[in-house]
């Protein structure tokens, strides 16, 4: 299309404002983000959780980071000198903080609660940071804090490259340790050789201030040393993960539950389960380019098969071992995929998304209905599903079930990898890029799409089977459209068509929100923002597939 520049005014019409106006604009954007953060109730919910004991709460940290980022961006403008850049950052921070001050004042002056449920005096109190609610002092301190935070953000950006990176690494280490206190504290508990008890590093909710400062400098020093070493070896400091990174990640995934508590193991189990599903959808969406929003239906088929075959409850039609039921579940899910796939696969693109969404919802409504409840339990579900047994040993603890899910995920990953590099995998890729050309080259679109759909459904069935064994009961409630969207988001965040991407996506989207319980309520909002942001900033995903990288470099 040679008229692109004519019709797309997105980049063309954006006027360059003066630096100061740009700073004010950035400040307003950050301020809007802060106000939105407060008004959706996230501020109050996350204020209860300390990141650094007695100093910074999660919501304060999030707000500071927003302004920090605004300051960083405001100072990045290459046209201005250092002092002007810092001034810009301060202006942006002041404006952003002032937006919050206005909010606090509004909450106390006008009753907004009939419309906005979160705009309560409690929020105003939390935002007044200990000062008298909505007093002049409380209102004045917010812009000042904002300016300070933005200034720090600008300074980090203006530091020499090595020092700036070290500072960011230190900050990231402190934040990570504070956020995932449960994981790290539970690991420390397992290390008897450590001299001090763990409560010196971690308080009841977050890091202790002393430990935070120490950790910051440790991590910063580590980053500096690593960069020096890399320079000495003659290479440029690398960014991103590669083969050693992958090995480290896999080692962590395998060993993690052994060194932490049951809760973390449970979360890890969930991550492994979503990895299974993610790899299934990866075949459909990542390789063959089929947008499937009814994916959860196959998950449900797998789960209900195991439930019906392994339950000791009244609805069971058999009481066999999980190992017998698992292949049956996989085969049934594959058959369901084939039956669904045949008619639907002639539909393309957006239409396919809607058609599969409709199919998934039909299944859910049917399972939930009274008409089928004598067979599937309706909204009561099926309970008392036996745990799998292995050599007379019942897999009951979260750790054991985690390894079960992990082994299955490993098998599925191996199968996916082989498929991806096989002839059919290349046929899928060709079809994803251009269906008409692929057909002209002799690829049968219906057959290869159907195969992708069937294999994806089989993987989802395996995930469903494990899910039923893990939870011990199945309810229609567990098979909502949200599950399909979760899996889709995992793929998009991790990188379409990339197997390590599925792992990364599942950890980021399933693991982290579970570990950050305060965050749980807002996870879908975060998913939405993450989907949009990924498409704008890094459409190839966090860990792109090899061919996606090629595409990016070629263009």
């Amino acid at each position: 299309m040679s008229f692109n520049t004519v019709t797309s005014s997105f980049k063309v019409t954006r006027r360059r404002r003066s630096p100061l106006m740009e700073a004010v604009r950035l400040g307003l954007i950050a301020g809007a983000a802060l106000v939105a953060f407060a008004l959706i109730g996230a501020y109050s919910a996350m204020d209860k959780r300390a990141v650094i004991e007695g100093t910074v709460t999660l919501s304060q940290l999030a707000s500071l980071l927003i302004v920090f980022a605004a300051g960083h961006v405001a100072a990045r403008d290459a046209r201005s000198g250092t002092s002007a850049a810092l001034l810009n950052a301060v202006v942006a921070g002041l404006v952003a903080g002032a937006c919050l001050s206005v909010l606090v004042w509004l909450i106390m002056a006008v009753n907004l609660r009939t419309t906005l449920v979160a705009a309560s005096p409690a929020l105003a109190k939390a935002l007044s940071l200990g000062a008298r609610i909505a007093s002049l002092e409380a209102l004045a301190q917010l812009p000042l804090i904002g300016a300070a935070s933005a200034l720090v953000g600008a300074l980090v950006g203006r530091l020499p490259a090595g020092a700036g990176k070290a500072a960011l690494t230190g900050l990231a280490a402190v934040i990570t340790a504070g956020l995932f206190r449960d994981v790290f504290a539970s690991m420390l508990e397992r290390l008897p050789d450590l001299t001090g008890p763990d409560h010196e590093v971690f308080g009841s909710a977050g890091l202790n201030p002393g430990a935070a400062v120490a950790l910051f400098f440790l991590a910063a020093a580590f980053a500096l040393v690593r960069d020096r070493l890399a320079l000495k070896r003659g290479g440029v400091p690398r960014s991103g993960l590669s083969r050693p990174g992958l090995v480290l990640l896999i080692a962590g995934v395998v060993l993690l539950p052994l060194v932490t508590n049951d809760f973390v193991a449970q979360v890890a189990m969930l991550v492994a389960l979503y990895m299974l599903m993610g790899m299934g959808l990866n075949i459909e969406l990542g390789l063959a380019g089929l947008v499937d929003l009814g994916f959860v239906a196959f998950f449900a088929v797998g789960a209900y098969t195991v439930a019906l075959l392994c339950s000791s409850g009244p609805l069971a039609i058999a009481d066999v071992s999980f190992w017998v039921a698992l292949p049956v579940a996989i085969v049934l899910a594959a058959v369901a995929g084939m039956i669904f796939g045949l008619p639907v696969l002639r539909v393309r693109g957006d239409y396919l998304a809607m058609a599969t969404l409709g199919l998934g919802e039909i299944i859910r409504v049917l399972v939930l209905s009274d008409a089928l409840s004598p067979y599937l339990g309706g909204s009561q579900g099926i309970i008392e599903i036996d745990h799998p047994r292995l050599f007379g040993w019942e897999l009951k603890s979260p750790v054991a079930l985690y390894y079960l899910a992990l082994v299955l995920a490993g098998v599925v990953a191996f199968v996916s990898l082989r498929l991806q590099n096989a002839k059919i995998g290349r046929a899928w890729l060709a079809m994803r890029e251009d269906e008409d050309v692929a057909q002209a080259l002799g690829i049968d679109p219906v057959a290869s799409k159907l195969l992708a759909y069937t294999i994806g459904a089989a993987f989802a069935g395996a995930a469903g089977a494990v899910f039923a064994a893990l939870i011990g009961s199945v309810y229609p409630h567990s098979f909502q459209l949200l599950v399909s969207i979760n899996v889709l988001a995992i793929l998009v965040i991790g990188g379409l068509g990339s197997l390590p991407g599925v792992l990364v996506g599942a950890i980021v989207l399933i693991g982290l929100p579970e570990l950050l319980r305060e965050f749980g309520e807002f996870r879908y909002l975060f998913y939405g923002i993450a989907l949009v942001a990924m498409m704008h900033v890094r459409a190839e995903g966090l860990w792109p597939a090899a061919y996606a990288k090629e595409g990016v470099h070629a263009s």
């Binding site: 008229f3 959706i40 449920v117 539909v347 969404l357 409504v365 219906v446 939405g528 993450a530 949009v532």
Partner: protein
């Protein structure tokens, strides 16, 4: 297989069809026959069972027309955006939800200001206007964030962005407005029923139906008679050619999203008036139904959206009583959505061009 088929010299439509079809076509034909048989057997059984009286069916029909006109309003947004961008606005259902909430808060504000008590008849247009304004604004935001940056890239990005926007709208609204159901005010004069030719119909249903028809007529007038409408039709026909003759394509796309969003806002308010309760999650699946209506009528076709909405509404209202009752299922109304989604899937598979669409859909989809 094709060799043997080609050697058959017997001319005729059936032989020609047999020669050209593959095994997939046979399975599709089997599905068609199966579904038709399912519907016919159910219909016969439902009529024979005679659970419902004629008056029941009349009231079902009235309800179907009401909800159908709301579906039609939602379908307009899909159909207009699809006509121009060849893409589905996945977040469109949530635009409707936002419009509904805007109407709720406008009604609350009017009540506080005393307008509701003093001029109860004036309140409805004002509340509708609030819903339209909110719907248009949100829709413009969606266009700006999810569609414009990807206007010239053929990828999944707009679809995924729109799914993301849908979630942002739902869960931001959940945080802002709370999770509980909100009761919608009834403006006093809207309580009760009207009797007309022996039928008794709740007033909100009449209002919703009439308002939907008026808004639709207004929209048709805009598209057929104004300069903007002409530009919209031109862009839908060929975006690049439209740009060449001096049409501001971006502005036309924005206007299309705004109008579609306003229609969804009206639908949100009308839906709330009929059902009296709204939640932040109601938009998504109503959006899917609206999409089904748009497809049913023939996407890109404004009259088709109206027809599709009414047909879908009637099918959902009458289907459980007519067809599912024939199978003696317990609580057939639980399966009302199965009929709606089933129609969506069937149309996508067997007649993607819809009832009124004439162009080949495979090219556009």
């Amino acid at each position: 297989m094709s060799e043997t088929a080609r050697s058959a010299t017997e001319p005729g439509v059936f032989a020609e069809w047999l020669r050209r079809s593959t095994w997939v076509d046979f399975i599709l034909l089997a599905i068609r026959i199966g579904v038709a048989a399912l519907v016919l057997v159910g219909l016969a059984g439902g009529l024979a069972a005679g659970t419902y009286s004629a008056a029941d069916f009349v009231s079902f029909t009235m309800f179907g027309l009401t909800i159908g006109s709301i579906y039609a309003l939602i379908a307009l947004g899909y159909t207009m955006v699809y006509g121009i961008l060849r893409m589905i606005n996945f977040a469109h259902g949530d635009v409707m939800m936002v419009g509904s909430f805007a109407g709720l808060f406008a009604a609350g504000g009017l009540n506080d200001a005393g307008v509701l008590g003093a001029f109860p008849l004036l309140a409805l247009p004002l509340v509708l206007a609030a819903g339209m304004a909110a719907g248009a604004l949100v829709s413009i935001a969606i266009e700006r964030i999810a569609y414009r940056p990807f206007l010239h890239v053929r990828s999944l990005a707009p679809l995924i962005c729109a799914i993301g926007m849908s979630f942002i709208l739902q869960y931001a609204a959940r945080g802002l407005f709370g999770t509980r159901n909100r009761a919608y005010p009834g403006f006093g004069w809207m309580e009760g029923t009207v009797s007309f030719a022996g039928l008794t119909i709740p007033i909100p249903q009449v209002v919703a139906f009439v308002a939907a028809l008026i808004v639709l007529a207004g929209l048709l007038a805009v598209v057929r008679l104004t300069r903007l409408g002409k530009a919209m039709r031109a862009v839908a026909e060929d975006r690049d050619a439209a740009a060449l003759v001096g049409i501001d394509v971006t502005a036309v796309i924005v206007a299309t999203f705004a109008i579609g969003g306003a229609m969804a806002g009206v639908a949100g308010v009308l839906y709330a008036l009929v059902f009296k309760q709204i939640t932040v999650f109601m938009g998504f699946f109503l959006g899917v139904k609206g999409f089904a209506a748009a497809i049913l009528g023939g996407i890109g076709n404004l009259g088709g959206a109206l027809l599709g909405g009414l047909v879908l509404g009637l099918a959902e209202a009458l289907g459980p009583a007519l067809i599912l009752e024939g199978y003696h299922l317990p609580a057939p109304y639980q399966l009302k959505d199965v009929i709606g989604y089933g129609m969506l899937v069937m149309i996508l598979i067997f007649r993607p061009q819809g009832l009124l669409g004439e162009r080949l859909a495979a090219k556009r989809a």
